[in-house]
Homo-oligomer: 392 residues x 2
DNA sequence: CGCGATCCTGCAAAGGTTTGCAATGAAGTA
DNA sequence: TACTTCATTGCAAACCTTTGCAGGATCGCG
């Protein structure tokens, strides 16, 4: 590793003296159990004692050892967050929201990246299992059956995937794809391509299903292209294929692919939206910054992260892990209710979609359009309703 | 919270039977200490016994309880990663690299987001202290003295900040800023603005210092604008100010601001790079995707994450935390060597910079330029050398 | 055959916290 | 006054693992 040590100094440092509950007990003249209760069950200790203990604790800089606490309570107050690819801008807002929500509930979040690799996913669940109270599985690439199996090892909440028997947070990409297709059909497009994402993606299947239905209903022909890598590269790689297919509009699996496709088409001399319209999914920050600005289906990423954490913690509180007390370890089945939450998506119309070859002549050609009925707050600004739910 | 429960089912699930070292011991007919050694000191146990124990462990699905292990060894095998803003695309590659590197060393990573808030930073260090073996502080916003103080509580490695006595990973933004200014001066710009970032940012100070020197050396005038929020919004907000200042080129604190600025200038009818040249810092993915593509100083984010983890673990191995064995708890000072690593940056020339008003007439005006000597692999492709070091 | 060395394994303490139970004392009730 | 109830606190077991120490067996060597 070619670093250069600019400075190499030595410094004196007192060994971090670990101050335990015992020290606090001694300092405040009570038994350690009283100190413990001061923190974990304050109502059980005399207010006067409590303030004294708290003062001593503060004074000594005491912080409860979470490992010891975890050891006896069986609850680590940690949760795991397994992500297909942190570098995909879709995920950071989700991570951020989840971490913040967890922190408010006095939980910490382990983040792990699988590089879209199903095997890594499985290993990570195993590795995390004993160390966390539950795991959030975001856009998993492994099989449903494996997920179910793993859920017997550690409480799981799945995001962007429907697994029966498990709590799931879903984004209504079906509705999103439908809106997108309807938007394109309304613009006069009759030949549309769907740029598929990873084969094992639930989102991918949902989009295909909904887009197919919507296209049929609108009298348009839908061409399936894929599967592809859900990245910019994946998008630009199919540009040539898109051109040859002769479609006048494309719905891409996500924004990254849409942007890559636009790049690729541009390199081939195909103009967007004049010759081909492109719609993405996710509404990542980037999609507002490219030229042309991307028309896309906004997904409520932050809300998904928060909701997933809530569901995990709720489920977790119902059924604490580990046997409590001697003799309570009989493996009696735990009955728990699982819920699936569907979050609404919103079509955000910007500049990457325009009139198709079948547009009625009355429509102005290739002119900037006004706000679309689907997008109450006007183009470019995700609606506040994005995080809200939709009855389905 | 407006979600709709699409499904609410109940499922039977065996209580996750916690299989401990004791179960494995019973199953394989040895004492628990032998099982323990099988995992933590395999060379001390008879090969035959070992395979038998391993088989049983595998069979029962045993995984060592890390909390218990942490309790007695004093090492959690976790590290904390404190980030100013996960949503800033500068950080995900760093997180990803750090997490991956840590995992290879059998460590897990807690990720926490401070929203650029110094107070949150301090609280997070406290909260994490007892739970991790060390903390990576990325682009901290708190004061040096506070950082030093916190480093007495938990081993710290600082990224993007120079703190004497603490191990630091720095990116040579000074060199980067110099290259950028020289590039602009070479293009004929004599009046350049520096768009500052957060006041408490070390990077910010370094850039100001280096850019000032380079501008003086090149006979250019440098205008300081800031501090600003290191975001797209922060950049677009100063567009008007940039126009009024009359400069012909701008070096922005980071890519996000540069892109925001270009957006803002565009809205004011100022063309980039024809009227104003813009240079960013970081080379985030986004900078290759905007129009015009951004000229920027590439920072080795992944290498920084990996290096930081390595430094933390190395320092950590030298001085294990917590008193080992009875009577060893005397607070004798631990002497440890701290190093600072400086990583090289690289100017990547793309399309957001062009000839300035003082360009020699021989130069073609506003025409696409070929590869720049600063960028060996050609524009648009970060050089492989980016992660390597530079002697300084 | 005896002795030490080596290898393997068991024993038990320790690590910091939580928590059921018991003890204490005070206050309230009959 | 005697008895009950309640609030507060102490006691000690338990959580699961690691590790220093010692015991036992086996082997090599003189």
């Amino acid at each position: 590793m070619g670093h250069t040590h600019v400075t190499a100094a030595t410094s004196d440092e007192g060994a971090a003296v670990p101050v335990t509950i015992r020290d606090v007990a001694r300092a405040s003249g009570v038994h350690i159990s009283t100190v413990s209760r001061t923190f974990s069950a304050p109502h059980l200790v005399n207010p006067e004692t409590r303030v004294r203990v708290l003062a001593c604790a503060e004074d000594l800089g005491y912080r409860p050892n979470r490992a010891a606490r975890a050891l006896i309570t069986g609850r680590t107050h940690n949760i795991g967050l397994i992500i297909a690819d942190i570098a995909n801008p879709f995920f950071p807002p989700l991570i951020k929201a989840a971490e913040s929500q967890a922190r408010h509930r006095d939980y910490h979040v382990f983040v792990a990246d699988t590089n879209e690799d199903p095997t890594a996913e499985e290993e990570l669940v195993h590795a995390l299992a004993k160390q966390v109270d539950g795991v959030l599985l975001c856009s998993p690439r492994m099989s449903n059956s494996l997920i179910e199996q793993l859920s017997r090892e550690v409480p799981l909440v799945v995001v962007n995937r429907q697994v029966t028997g498990l709590p799931c947070v879903l984004m209504d990409v079906g509705q999103g794809a439908r809106s997108a297709i309807e938007h394109l059909v309304g613009l006069g497009h009759r030949s549309i391509a769907l740029l598929g994402g990873p084969r094992s993606s639930w989102t991918n299947r949902e989009m295909r299903r909904a887009a197919g239905t919507a296209a049929r209903a609108g009298g348009a022909e839908l061409t399936l292209l894929g599967p592809n890598a859900p990245t910019e590269i994946g998008g630009s790689a199919v540009a040539e294929q898109v051109r040859r297919s002769g479609v006048s509009a494309v719905l891409a699996y996500n924004d990254l692919m849409a942007i890559g496709l636009i790049e690729g088409l541009d390199a081939l001399g195909v103009r967007v939206p004049q010759e081909v319209s492109v719609v993405g999914v996710d509404d990542i920050t980037l999609s507002r910054l490219t030229r042309p600005k991307l028309t896309t289906v906004a997904t409520p990423t932050g809300a998904a992260g928060r909701t997933a954490v809530d569901m995990l913690l709720q489920q977790d509180i119902e059924s604490p892990r580990g046997a409590r007390g001697p003799g309570a370890g009989t493996a009696l089945g735990v009955r728990r209710t699982t819920a699936q939450v569907m979050l609404q998506t919103d079509l955000v119309i910007r500049d990457s979609t325009g009139p198709g070859p079948h547009a009625r002549p009355a429509r102005p050609l290739a002119a900037p359009r006004g706000p679309d009925p689907h997008c109450p707050a006007g183009p470019g600004i995700p609606t506040a309703a994005t995080g809200d739910a939709v009855a389905s």
